[in-house]
Amino acid sequence: MRKMNKNGQEEMVGFVLIVVIVAIVLVILLGIVLRQDKPIQTENQDINNFIKSSMEYTSSCALNGQYLKMRPLLGACYKSGNCDSGEKACNVLNASFIGMLESSFIVKEGSNIRGYIFKAVYYENISSSQEKKIIEITKGNCTGKTQIGSDEPFAQDNGIITAKMSVCY
C-alpha cells in the first residue's frame, strides 16, 4: 500500500511539472509572438510635419543677398557652396538642423525619446538605391521602437534630395 502511495505521488509531481513546463513555454511563445506583432518602424505624422516645417526655416546663409531656406541650403551644401559671408553652407545647415532638432526632440535621461537620426541624402535618380549623404545628425541610442518621417523629395541637378528622420522611443 505504501509503495502504491509513493507511485501516485510521483505521478502527480510529474504531472504538475508537465503543466508548469507547458505554461512557461506558452508564456515564452506569447512573448515572442507579441513582440513580433509590433511593427518596428511606423510612420509618424508629427515627424513628417517637423521635417516639412523645418524645411521652410530661413537660415542665416544668404546667397546673392537672398536668405536661403533649408531646401536650397541642402542643395548649396551638396555643391559644397559658400554663403555670402564666406561661411560654408554645410556648416550653417548643420547648425540650423542641430538647433531645430534639439529644441524639438529632447533626448535625456527620463525623457521618452531615446534618440534620433536625421539625414538628408542625394539620389542620382528616383529608382536609384545609391545614396550620397549630405547631412546626418544622430543623438542618443536609436534602437527598438522607431517612428519615421520624411520630406517630399525635390530636384537637384540631375537627381533628387530627400530628408528623412527616425525617432526612437
Partner: protein, 173 residues
Amino acid sequence: MKTKYYHVKYSKAQLKIQQMAFVLVAIVVFFSIVALFYFAINLSGIKSNYESLEEQKTSEMVRKLSGLPELRWEGCSSCVDLDKALLLKNRTSYKGFWGLEYLSVEVVYPKVESRECDKGVYPNCNKITIVGNNNLARTTSNYVALCRWDQEIQGNRCVLGKINAAGEFNSTR
C-alpha cells in the same frame, strides 16, 4: 520532542479525483493563456488604431487651421503668417469663429525671449495666444513654420514653430 509521522492512505478513487483536478487546472491555465493571447492581439490593434486616428485627427485639424485664409502664409501649406496671428489676438469680431477652447502659436527655434506677444513686444516674443488661456491640459500641437516679413533682412523669414489647439474645431469653415 519526538515528531510523529502519519501515513495517510489514499484510495485509488481519490487519486483519480486529484488527477482530474490537475487536468482541470491545466485546462483552465491553457485557455486563460489562449484568451490572454487573443485579447492582447485585439487590444494592441485597437490601441494602434485609436492612436493612428487621433494622430490623423490632430494633423487634419492643424492642416485646416494653417490653411485658413485668416492664418495662411501664401505659397506654403504648412506655414502660418505670424503677423496675421498677432492681428487676430483679442479680436472680438472673431469670438466664436474658431469653435476652439484654445488656440496659440509658439516659436520653437530659434530661441527667443519666452513671453506672450503683443503689439508692443512683437517680434521679440515666442507665443501668440489667439483663443482662450494656456491653462488647458488637453491641447494637441503640431509643427508649423511661422513666417513674417522681416525688416532686418528685407525679406520673408520663417522660423520653426508649433500650433497648439484644444477643443473641437468647427470643420464647416
